[in-house]
Amino acid sequence: MIKLIIDDKEVEVREGTSVLEAAKKIGIEIPTLCYHEALAPYGACRVCTVEIIRKGRYGLSTACTYPAQEGIEVKTNSEKVKKARKLILEMLLARCPHVKKIRDLAREVGIEKPRFKLDNEECILCGLCVRVCEEIVGVSAIGFVSRGTKREVTTPYKINSDVCLGCGACAALCPTGAIKIEDIEDLRKIPLWHTELKRKKCRVCGEFFAPEVEIDFLKKKNTQILEEFFETCPDCRRKELGNKIGGKICQG
């Protein structure tokens, strides 16, 4: 176990814990945009910047990537941290002036209007979508292309991806709402990735639910599960399960 001090409070964590997780353990919330507990830390948004004092040396670092170390001191809200975080949020707000999440975070640190020219982006390039698609879903349908200010998230060659499952994990994790999913009749569309997939009809209610390719993908991954399960929409699955359990209780 490792002992460190965060905002004058001592905390003990297991080796390999990040400063961000250590802070959370004692109830200190550090704002984040590109962090998700299910994914490897990435350190892109820089919003979780904190001050680390190690062996008498002061420096700024991101709490999500910095591993907790014995004897270090962390300040999550020092003047230096506040100044740096404020400017980072000011730059993000100038990039995405209409994104609610960014506006709220910026307002919390006292920024209403950035001093820079306003752009009109929705994506902050946090990479949550790219990483969930690679690390959790395991298909890497999207990735980063280009460098610097031209960097963006898209599919290879910016055409419809032949591996996208249309699962929507990317949209679920997107902190700014930049990725939109449209379910229309038997189709699932993710316009940003040029994805257009046929959806499966529920054997019970007849409603369309998940994309067929996603269901096939899951079937291959989970060969023990009954075919029926994949033919049923989540609502009907719940109902059927409820009925079964209910029936058993009544019988019992």
């Binding site: 820089r46 919003v47 420096g59 991101t62 740096a84 730059m91 990735g143 460098r147 610097g148």
Partner: protein, 617 residues
């Protein structure tokens, strides 16, 4: 070819190579480096081959195409051995005369000799030329002596004997101690003590371990690593093999940008030849040590010179850096202990092993040992690659070696350390060049770019140039670097277009601090240097742009006006004829005028006027 198994066998082969060579036999060495190639040296090479054949001298004269000699300004360069007569700016038309006169008759062709501009005297020998005199070409000097595609040339000058020395008598720990004691520091920019890095990598847990040669040099105007890999690839390989043995690695990579085709080619040839002689591959020198080197061609992203981005790229991923809280010596390529050094660092290793740490550490300053190769470019008379001992002053490099500023212009600043380095002003020209001193004045050693600027250079424009380079080359992963550079560049652009306002300098400084302190990697960490150093030393120039809407150097188009001095104008019509906007009016032998509404400030009139009548304000 039988693989060499002992140090004695290596020495025997070296002797037999030398015995076969008649040192008195004339040898024409022609620079085949990148700079001379730009001057079409390949035609000169072909011409020499044809002429030697034509005169039936194949058995009497050798031709050797070498790597870069450094004095690129004067290419194509040809040196005649054994006398070491130095000809410059040689054309294919000169070749028949050279062969008949210099080779056959030992007569010097005066017009091909270098003229010392200070004394106006012709100089006959390479080592007497001021450009070379103050240099100490320990690493780079062999470039001119060997054919980089022929391993026996390298072996003839003692190549691979350091490797033999290490494998037959020095323990890995002792090698690391020796490199540490020598004081060698990373030549790629970081300046970390090489021996210590090796030690950390050797001590790290995990297998396999890797060594990498970083040849992704990407600074505008810098080409020393390129020329070293092109001109003496075996010295880099030998350094890597020694390093791998000391660290305990069996696999190595050279990450070289694909825009360096000659370096890729020569490194590839060198690896094959080294394998043939048993210096690479399985059971090197029959010692039981296995080591292979693979070449990986980079796509040309500047950020891939950053060690973690380079490793990501080597793994086939997007070349973007990751947080380095756990060092690459512990978890680098494929999350295994990895030791990465730059081309020049590796090339120093055989030298240190051969001549000893004590000898090496006597060269240089207290904290920076040995020599450093700089790429001396910009507004300088002698453009080229120079290798100098650490601690030499900027003045010596710029004036004694570089020959000063051309066209009688005044020196203004020198930019060191590549795009993330800083501009050093005239008042610091006596600064001794080493890692600490350059950092202290707000610049850095970087990989050794040195761009000289004269009085016609606008420092705000320079900062803008480097920032626009970095805006393109930032990987864009982290907010601070991507957005910060973009915003700094916006402000700088405004300033150079006359839209600067009070508070801009302070906002630049605020942004610079945030980018430097909160970026993920060193690219972002150092990106503000061009802005900060120009503000530090040339604040008045920024103020002139912002307050007076003037560009004192006359560079920023929106802030200057061209006019014609009536007194000086002779009415020669030259400018009028060339003005692309037809903005100039006036009759023959009458003073001309520039219509400001039409003028696009292209400067053609200024370049054309023979009477110095164009005024820029």
């Amino acid at each position: 070819m039988k693989k060499i198994k002992t140090a004695k066998e290596l020495e025997d082969i070296r002797k037999s190579i030398l015995e076969k060579r008649d040192t008195n036999r004339p040898c024409i060495t022609i620079c085949g480096g990148t700079g001379c190639r730009a001057y079409a040296c390949e035609k000169v090479i072909t011409a020499f081959g044809a002429e030697i054949k034509k005169q039936g001298l194949e058995a009497k004269v050798d031709i050797r195409v070498t790597g870069c000699h450094g004095f690129c300004e004067r290419g194509p360069l040809v040196v005649f051995h054994p006398e070491e007569i130095f000809y410059q700016q040689v054309t294919p038309e000169d070749v028949p005369e050279i062969v008949s006169e210099t080779i056959m008759q030992n007569r010097i062709i005066e017009r091909l000799l270098y003229t010392d501009p200070a004394t106006n005297k012709k100089i006959k020998y390479e080592n007497e030329i001021p450009f070379y005199k103050k240099q100490r070409r320990l690493v780079f000097g062999n470039n001119g002596k060997i054919d980089p595609t022929d391993i026996t040339d390298y072996m003839a000058i003692g190549g691979y004997s350091s490797l033999a020395k290490v494998l037959f008598g020095i323990s890995p720990q002792e090698v690391i101690e020796e490199i540490t004691k020598s004081g060698l520091r990373g030549r790629g920019g970081g300046g970390f003590l090489t021996g210590r890095k090796w030690h950390y990598c050797r001590s790290a847990h995990g297998n396999p371990k890797y060594v990498i040669c970083n040849a992704d040099e990407g600074d505008p105007g810098a080409y020393m690593d390129r020329s070293l890999l092109e001109g003496n690839p075996h010295s880099v390989l030998e350094g890597m093999i020694i390093g791998a043995w000391a660290i305990g690695a069996n696999e190595g990579y050279i990450y070289v940008r694909n825009e360096y085709p000659l370096a890729v080619k020569h490194a590839g040839i060198a690896i094959k030849q080294a394998e043939k002689y048993g210096f690479l591959g399985k059971n090197i020198f029959d010692s039981g040590f296995n080591f292979t080197i693979e070449i990986n061609r980079g796509g040309g992203a500047f950020v891939c010179g950053e060690s973690t981005a380079l490793m990501a790229s080597l793994e086939g991923k997007v070349g973007e850096p990751r947080a380095k809280h756990i060092h690459t010596v512990e978890s680098g390529l494929r999350e295994k202990p990895t030791n990465l050094n730059n081309v020049e660092t590796w090339a120093n290793v055989p030298l240190i092993i051969a001549r000893g740490a004590d000898w090496y550490s006597k060269i240089g300053t207290k904290e920076s040992k040995g020599t450093k190769i700089f790429s001396l470019v910009g507004k300088i008379k002698n453009t080229g690659l120079v290798e100098v001992p650490m601690g030499i002053t900027l003045r010596e490099i710029i004036y004694d070696i570089g020959g000063g500023i051309p066209n009688g212009k005044k020196f203004k600043a020198v930019q060191t350390g590549g795009p993330s380095g800083g501009c050093i002003p005239e008042e610091l020209i006596d600064l001794p060049v080493d890692f600490e001193e350059l950092t202290r004045v707000g610049s850095m050693m970087g990989s050794g770019g040195m761009i000289v600027m004269d009085e016609d250079t606008c420092m705000v424009d320079v900062a803008k140039y480097f920032l626009s380079f970095l805006e393109d080359e930032s990987c864009g992963k982290c907010t601070s670097c991507r957005e910060g550079i973009k915003r700094m560049l916006e402000i700088l652009t405004n300033i150079t277009e006359g839209k600067g306002k009070e508070g801009d300098i302070e906002l630049l400084e605020e942004l610079a601090a945030a980018v430097a302190n909160t970026s993920l990697c060193a690219l972002g960490g150092t990106a503000p240097n061009p802005v900060l150093s120009t503000i530090r030393y040339f604040r008045d120039k920024y103020e002139a742009h912002i307050r007076d809407k003037k560009c004192p150097a006359g560079v920023c188009r929106q802030l200057i006006t061209y006019s014609i001095d009536e007194e000086a104008c002779r009415g020669c019509l030259a400018c009028k004829k060339l003005c692309p906007q037809e903005a100039i009016t006036g009759e023959k032998k009458e003073p001309h005028y520039i219509n400001q509404d039409k003028c696009i400030k292209c400067g053609v009139c200024l370049e054309t006027c023979k009477f110095d009548a164009i005024r820029v304000e």
